[in-house]
């Protein structure tokens, strides 16, 4: 495998925003333990802005780093802005990922999407 970038290793060593949010406004749960990756993303939203995000991840170094980076990227963004955060954006923010690990950034994108979807559904209900 190609080595991870320093950015990836930084986020892996010191992952930002680890944990759960109590009473989150949205939760995304993606991945499958069979494939070796499970990601949970929690968001707190105020006035359409993501004011907090946390994650829990079971997975490889890239899975942990992309989760961490994704939470960093979304905090402070509006929901619409957060939607622009694709897997490519996350991977680039980490100075790239080894080719065999690109699926991990997909996972981060999907977790974010799922959390936003969950937020919208909860909104509708209210």
């Amino acid at each position: 495998m190609e080595p991870y970038s320093e950015k990836v290793m930084d986020h892996f060593r010191n992952p930002r925003n680890v944990g759960e949010i109590e009473n989150p406004d949205g939760v995304g749960h993606v991945g499958n333990p069979m494939c070796g990756d499970v990601m949970e993303m929690y968001i707190k939203v105020k006035d359409n802005v993501i004011v907090d995000a946390k994650f829990k991840t079971f997975g490889c170094g890239a899975a942990i780093a992309t989760s961490s980076m994704a939470t960093e990227l979304v905090i402070g963004k509006t929901i619409d802005e957060a939607r622009q955060i694709t897997n490519k954006v996350v991977a680039e923010a980490l100075d790239g990922l080894p080719p065999v690990k690109m699926h991990c950034s997909n996972l981060a994108e999907e977790a974010l999407e799922a959390a936003i979807k969950d937020y919208h559904q909860k909104q509708k209900k209210n």
Partner: protein
């Protein structure tokens, strides 16, 4: 701080004495061993001497040893070679479900080319079920190939009994001894094997050289056709320094193997106990006692192997998830699944493999570092709820 290297099953450092023995064959005695002039006699004699050393270690005749470039080449040569040579007789091969990829993917390849393969199940400790083996044999069976010890979980197979069954049924028997040769006794007659694979870099020899034992009378088609080298069984100008290095490594192993096996087995068992005592929800994979002296394979619930390895690396500890060559794969180990682990648990496994230089202090250091790593990863795992 020096690296704590606990991945000897992946590869070992070439013993300085081995390198020393190789050096004259690069630009002093560089003659092509097949040439006729006298200067080539030095390299020719040297490889024949190495052949004798390897043969003696196996209880074999030098003529039964073919030098190759790796363990993988040995496995491919053995399996494809017998399949081709005996295809008139039958097209059925029996192997186990926990073979190294060099055996497994060779079998898969043959399946695409007209052969049928039975993958024997194993028990929870990783041992091939002999009754299943007997049941699997048909009149079409031309080859049984079961590894001597597994590279991931270290379980040692009942090769002697498998060999007996093979012989009783007139079936050629190959064993991949890449993980055992140089570490525990390997005698081709005691083990009843016909063909046996060896790789130099697994026991302090150089990378890029292996040897295949082929019992006299066993039919095998070459994998590499061409010149007359190796009694026409493997063409290529001989890798003289590599072969000399392999011979030297075998010679050294002969001297230290016994005491090292005892020393490493003791370190291994203490290490396993210490890890399991210090970390909850962890289990040892493989047989508790019928295992390689240097192999420790542990699964940690709720966390994933690569992230454990990366954290170990930060602490300057080198370990692996089982098989270096598939570290870019997303699939969990077929070996761990075969012994009944869930996908999730299989993803959370780490192999520590000890070596000649491994000390108790090093292992103590690992025992100290490991609980914090596991704790940290479990804290961020959505799967570990305790």
């Amino acid at each position: 701080m020096k690296m704590i290297y606990l991945d000897h099953a992946a590869t070992t450092a070439t013993d300085p004495e081995v390198l020393e023995a190789m050096l004259p064959y690069f630009h002093e005695h560089y003659g092509n061993p097949s040439s006729i002039y006298s200067m080539s006699r030095v390299s020719k004699n040297a490889i024949e001497n190495a052949r004798e050393i390897v043969a003696n270690a196996l209880g074999a005749n030098p003529k039964e040893i073919v030098f190759t470039s790796s363990g993988s080449e040995c496995d491919n040569f053995a399996i494809k070679g017998v399949a081709l040579a005996k295809q008139q007789k039958g097209n059925h091969i029996i192997t186990s479900s926990i073979e190294h990829h060099a055996v497994l993917y060779t079998c898969k390849f043959l399946e695409k080319n007209g052969f049928t393969v039975t993958y024997l199940p194993i028990d929870q400790d990783g041992i091939v079920k002999l009754d299943e083996l007997e049941k699997a044999i048909t009149p079409q069976t031309i080859l049984i190939t079961v590894m001597h010890a597994n590279n991931e979980i270290g379980t040692i197979q009942p090769i002697r009994q498998i060999g007996e069954i093979a012989r009783k049924n007139g079936i050629t028997f190959h064993t991949d001894a890449v993980q055992t040769f140089g570490h525990i006794p390997v005698n081709v007659d005691n083990l009843n094997v016909d063909i046996l694979s060896i790789s130099g870099h697994k026991f302090y020899g150089p990378k890029g050289v292996g040897a295949l034992y082929i019992r006299k009378g066993i039919k095998i088609t070459p994998l590499i056709h061409g010149g007359d080298q190796e009694r026409r069984r493997r063409a290529s100008t001989e890798n003289v320094p590599g072969i000399i290095g392999l011979g030297k490594a075998v010679e050294i192993a002969g001297k230290v193997m016994k005491s090292e096996a005892i020393r490493q087995t003791k370190l291994r068992d203490e290490f396993i106990r210490a890890i399991l005592d210090n970390i909850d929800d962890a289990r040892l994979n493989g047989h508790p006692s019928l295992r390689l002296p240097n192999n420790v394979n542990i699964s940690f619930e709720g966390i994933e192997g690569e992230s454990i390895l990366l954290n170990l690396d930060i602490e300057r500890i080198a370990a692996s998830t089982g098989s270096a060559c598939s570290s870019s794969s997303l699939e969990p180990s077929h070996v761990l699944l075969s012994i009944g682990l869930t996908h999730e648990f299989a993803h959370g496994s780490v192999r520590f493999s000890l070596g000649k230089q491994t000390t108790k202090d090093e292992l103590d250091y690992v025992v100290e570092a490991l609980p914090g790593i596991v704790k940290k990863l479990r804290a961020m795992s959505p799967l570990y709820k305790k």
